[in-house]
Symmetry: C2
Subunit: 340 residues, 2 copies
């Protein structure tokens, strides 16, 4: 049996019922500030599959290759490239248009298909008996951006998702530059949408997001690309996730201040632009309820109004009777007090 990537992290969230802790979630958090690791709870150096949280970083070659400008793309398309979108109408039409601009269709997408996470869209599809297409897949914007990059550089679109394809190699290089990590073959994994996903330490991700939010320590061209990426996410937070999704809510409420991106298996990355802080967290057991509670707690530390953006921590049962609450773990609250 493969060994665990690291020791268990501190408790980051607890689920209470009738005055007891019913279930609890451990994990790790890293915060980067002013060019150095600043705070950590748990192991900030263990390699973590960061999943979709890296999308804003994976989008850098989309701009730097010239593909965005070549095809007349703007902030909306950059946001879709950064997004784990909810598969609602604006997302599907947006990705369709991106593909069309590069003379491609949904048939070129290698992400697979799944139901939209937008509940209303999913229900409507059930009503009319429609099956999801790859356009509904939350990664289709990222894939459209990868395809556009290949088309722009006259590279084959065939196999654009394979690790050895130049599109993926450029992304790997961008990830290395931004995180300060070396991503060798042992760090290579496969994502849910079939493109490479890299195992990287939370400290590296926190560093990358600090730089994405501020441009600190970057060459001018990379700094400008980062500016375009973050401004796109802040201009179109609904395209980075979807109506009612936490990532969207946070950036709708705090544009220009907080950049944030989620990943499967309990990952969140982000940054506070004014303070030049980057952060990354991973829940050991992968639970989204815990990563959401932890990221809301973290952001609320510097932006108290954010507390109301997450799911209601007061838990109710099926008749609406209060049964308990979700709480941030003590390790998280102590660490975050240092942020104030």
């Amino acid at each position: 049996m493969p060994s665990l990537p690291c020791a268990d992290g501190p408790v980051l969230a607890t689920v209470g019922r009738s005055g007891r802790v019913e279930s609890w979630h451990r994990g790790a958090v890293a915060v980067w500030h002013d060019g150095a690791p600043w705070l950590a709870a748990g192991d900030a150096m263990a390699a973590v599959m960061c999943r979709s949280a890296t999308k804003p970083l994976q989008a850098l070659p989309f701009l730097e290759s010239g593909a965005v400008d070549r095809f007349g793309f703007g902030a909306a398309q950059i946001a879709l490239a950064c997004g784990s979108h909810a598969g609602a109408r604006p997302h599907v039409t947006g990705v369709t248009a991106m593909l069309a601009r590069t003379a491609l269709s949904a048939a070129a997408l290698a992400c697979g298909a799944h139901e939209p996470t937008d509940a209303a869209t999913a229900r409507q599809m059930v009503r009319v008996g429609a099956s999801p297409s790859p356009l509904h897949h939350n990664c289709s914007g990222k894939h459209a951006a990868m395809l556009a990059t290949a088309v722009h550089l006259a590279e084959p679109t065939e196999g654009y998702w394979r690790p050895e394809h130049p599109v993926q190699q450029r992304i790997r290089q961008a990830l290395e530059d931004m995180t300060g990590c070396t991503l060798g073959p042992d760090a290579l994994g496969i994502d849910g949408c079939s493109v490479p996903n890299w195992a990287m330490p939370l400290a590296g991700l926190a560093r990358a997001f600090a730089r994405l939010a501020t441009g600190e320590g970057l060459a001018p061209e990379r700094a400008d690309t980062c500016r375009r990426v973050r401004e796109a996410c802040w201009a179109h937070p609904d395209l980075v996730a979807g109506q009612g999704h936490l990532v969207t809510l946070i950036m709708q409420h705090l544009p220009g201040q907080v950049l944030v991106k989620s990943g499967a298996e309990g990952v969140y990355c982000g940054a506070f632009a004014d303070q030049g802080l980057g952060f990354a967290l991973k829940i050991d057991d992968g639970a989204k309820r815990a990563s959401e509670a932890a990221v809301v707690q973290l952001i609320s530390c510097l932006h108290p109004a954010a507390q109301h953006l997450g799911p209601d921590p007061r838990l109710s049962n099926w008749r609406g009777l209060p049964v308990g609450e979700m709480r941030a773990g003590e390790a998280l609250t102590s660490m975050l007090q240092r942020l104030r």
Copy 2:
């Protein structure tokens, strides 16, 4: 912040991606045999909110009060009383009929409502724009049994769900008798369906299920009631959960041999009738994927064919490419080797 109920348990399941452990789940397991605690991984004595796993025990007064015989109920109704049903047609019509037999309707149910967990039924309801009723609630069979007991004993149906109601008091007594635990006010919690749920150690639950499966150490009347309960579950495994649900699949394949019941927040209880073994497990973070993997591993120890009943441990991505696998934790496999 409330303290954790116990130290973290050993790793019971890991989620692998590309050769690494991406996420992992800890928890505890207790096995009871021949009148005594036999094996444990993790803390078998910490109090756990056992949730729906206790339903077969909660059903004992339904029979012992005479309600089952009074209303001409049989194995199907006992199974519904024990079930966390999927809200499909047989469940809804079955609960409706139980209520009607006692001159009640869905209006008497205090469980609240939620969508059926049976996917086809849920989709059909979306298609026709139907909202779920309390009949669809997975606990409605248990509630119908509680109501029938009150009606039979000429107790008020009003407030049958409150801890102080005689129906709930009798259930508490049955739980104490079967588990060997004393359930004072500090052990009282509220379930998702609003009735009491009691915090009990896994060792006590394992003991209760061993006795439920064998009648060992019980007075003749209680032993006979347990026989009726387990035979009902084995005769109607589809009513204890639903088509395709793990609890149903296990008992469809191993009737007379394995009794099993799941609970929210990663709980499973059960027993091996021939060996007189009872077991109970709880995943610290509450994840169902981990409790299912652990219970399948446990059952496969004595019934190897059960390995194929759980979800495929080989994990694939959205295009069907293999990405990794779920594995049982080493502590679980070592403990289970002692069972062979």
